[in-house]
């Protein structure tokens, strides 16, 4: 796969603040690449570096050219807090941005694609939040870019609107458009991205497919049991058990082990109100890696080790 976007030791400072600190990454052609990280991690600054809208130190290229020299018609950007002229209709906005390119898509087709054909003659300021964001995505698609940078495209949109935008992005990806996507929504990134980079303090903390990140950093699947029972009662079950307020967490229980675990609870005479089974997700990877980075406070929960001994939970176990 050819590289569409390359960053090598990219650095950007704003005064004394280091926004991007030695980022290196490669995004293949046709790949959807997710950038996640806490506020201030450097995601937006990295997007600015890669779109040539800010100066930086280090090496970067988009479609084989420096970001500020790449043919403008081949890239698209949806800035994080983008707000187009609010008293133009959705159709006028698309016609306006289409007019900035020598060769653009038919605005009517783009309106159809982002689901605004029926509301095309409504002023932008009168559209709902979801419709506004779809109009913004439509603006970004008007030049039919090869590489698309979407900086938090679904922020502030209701679940229905988000799913509508996800479908648009999925269609673009299926058509071969390279997408660099930043988001605080882990389910969004997990669903859409082929690969993900987690940024913290301007550095890439982890990179990989969502599944590989979850496998490496997400921990075990677990069963959380709402019970007043003491962890000591479950030591013979052979699971690693974490004790919290009014609940016990049994680690390492896969989907096929749930019934056995519940039976085992009954067998040792533990009564419970309810239980919840959870698989590790990208969100847990995020919390794990950024929590470690930002020095999460040590939990008060105890871990009852498989050997029955007791100790404080280590960071890796939380």
């Amino acid at each position: 796969m050819n590289a569409a976007v390359v960053a090598e030791d990219l650095r950007k400072r704003y005064g004394d603040t280091v926004a991007v600190d030695g980022v290196s990454l490669t995004v293949g052609e046709g790949e959807v690449f997710g950038l996640i990280g806490p506020n201030g991690a450097g995601k937006t600054t990295l997007v600015r570096c890669l779109t040539g809208t800010t100066e930086y130190d280090g090496e970067a290229s988009v479609l084989g050219a420096a970001p500020d020299e790449v043919e403008r018609s081949r890239i698209g950007l949806l800035p994080q807090s983008f707000s187009p002229p609010e008293r133009l209709t959705a159709r006028e906005l698309l016609e306006y941005y289409a007019g900035l390119y020598d060769d653009s898509r038919d605005p009517e087709a783009v309106l159809e694609e982002v689901g605004l054909a029926d509301d095309a003659d409504i002023w932008y300021e009168k559209l709902s939040g979801g419709q506004q964001r779809r109009a913004c995505v439509g603006i970004t698609l008007i030049n039919d870019p090869d590489v698309l940078f979407l900086d938090e495209p679904t922020t502030g949109i209701d679940p229905t609107g988000r799913r509508g935008l996800w479908r648009v992005i999925e269609r673009l990806a299926a058509a071969g458009t390279t997408v660099v996507l930043t988001s605080h929504s882990m389910d969004e990134v997990e669903r859409l991205s082929d690969r993900v980079a987690l940024l913290a303090d301007g550095q890439v903390v982890a990179t990989g497919t969502p599944n590989s990140l979850v496998e490496q950093h997400g921990g075990d699947p677990r069963l959380v049991v709402q019970t007043e029972a003491d962890a000591e009662a479950l030591t013979e079950m052979g699971y690693r058990i974490e004790e919290g307020a009014g609940e016990l967490t049994l680690h390492g229980i896969g989907a096929t082990d749930i019934a056995d675990a519940v039976e085992a609870l009954s067998a040792v005479g533990v009564s419970y109100e309810s239980f919840t089974w959870t698989e590790p997700t990208l969100e847990e990877v995020y919390l794990e890696l950024t929590g470690r980075r930002f020095g999460r406070e040590r939990s008060r929960s105890r871990v009852v080790a498989e050997d029955g001994g007791e100790r404080m939970a280590t960071e890796g176990e939380r």
């Binding site: 403008r72 707000s83 007019g99 900035l100």
Partner: protein, 261 residues
């Protein structure tokens, strides 16, 4: 073709966005009308009585025109700048083929048309309400480039102020701070003889002075007479200076347009 297309597209969007802000349109025309009504109708000029308005009404036409040529581009381009920054529009435009100077040129065109219309209104009101006597002739057509270049100049300055000020409030404060002294110290409403002798050369540094002088040469009958230089020739001289200054300020304004964050 593509460059023209980009400018037309930006111009069309800018014009629509402005014309649909009804309060902005209203005050763009109402403010100069108010000035004419207050000074031209209520206060009135008193050619024999001394005071601030001691010249015949026709003398002040350049001043009334200067109100819109100066204030409107400064505040409009400055505000547009702030809106673009707050909405990350410059960041978006930086990833399109639209050049910075093309953006400013398109918005300058919008201002030229709006202020051209406002200037016609003021011209008519001054003649109709204050009884100003105007030297009528084909030379009046030169008012068009005077207004266009004046607007271009202050659009450039508005862009610079928009870059320097970091918010819409800041833009308004900055443009008022620049515009008010310029308006009264550029041979518009205050005649040079009302200023201290040592200060009079300072007015030559105001770009608005060349607008006011040139327009006065073209419209005010009091500047022509036997043995006096041809007013149109004098006006062309001021138009030349104004053109050079407009080019300088436009280039500065184009550089002030952000190419990113």
């Amino acid at each position: 073709m593509s460059r023209v297309g980009r400018i037309v597209s930006e111009f069309r969007a800018g014009a629509r966005a402005f014309l649909r802000r009804r309060t902005a349109v209203f005050f763009t025309f109402f403010f100069p009308v108010l000035i004419v009504l207050i000074f031209g109708v209520l206060v009135q000029s008193q050619p024999t009585g001394g005071g601030l308005f001691a010249e015949p009404p026709g003398y002040y036409l350049p001043g009334y025109l200067a109100v819109v040529v100066l204030f409107t581009p400064l505040s409009r381009v400055g505000s547009e700048f702030a809106r673009h920054r707050e909405g990350s529009r410059f960041e978006k435009l930086a990833t399109t083929p639209l050049a910075r100077w093309e953006w400013l040129f398109a918005h300058t065109l919008v201002n030229v048309l709006v202020i051209g219309a406002a200037s016609l209104l003021i011209f008519g009101l001054v003649v109709a309400l204050t009884g100003a006597s105007i030297a009528v002739g084909p030379h009046l057509l030169l008012l068009v480039p005077f207004v266009a270049l004046g607007v271009t100049l202050f659009c450039g300055l508005g862009a610079v102020l928009g870059r320097v000020a970091d918010s819409q409030d800041g833009v308004i404060a900055a443009s008022n701070s620049v515009a008010l002294p310029l308006l009264f110290l550029s041979e518009t409403f205050v005649t040079p003889d009302l200023l201290p002798a040592w200060f009079r050369p300072v007015t030559d540094f105001s770009p608005l002075t060349y607008f006011a002088r040139g327009v006065r040469y073209l419209t005010y009958e009091g500047v022509s007479g036997a043995g006096a230089p041809d007013p149109t020739t004098l006006a062309l001289s001021d138009l030349g200076v104004l053109a050079v200054l407009a080019a300088v300020f436009f280039v500065a304004g184009a550089y002030a347009v952000p190419s990113g964050d």
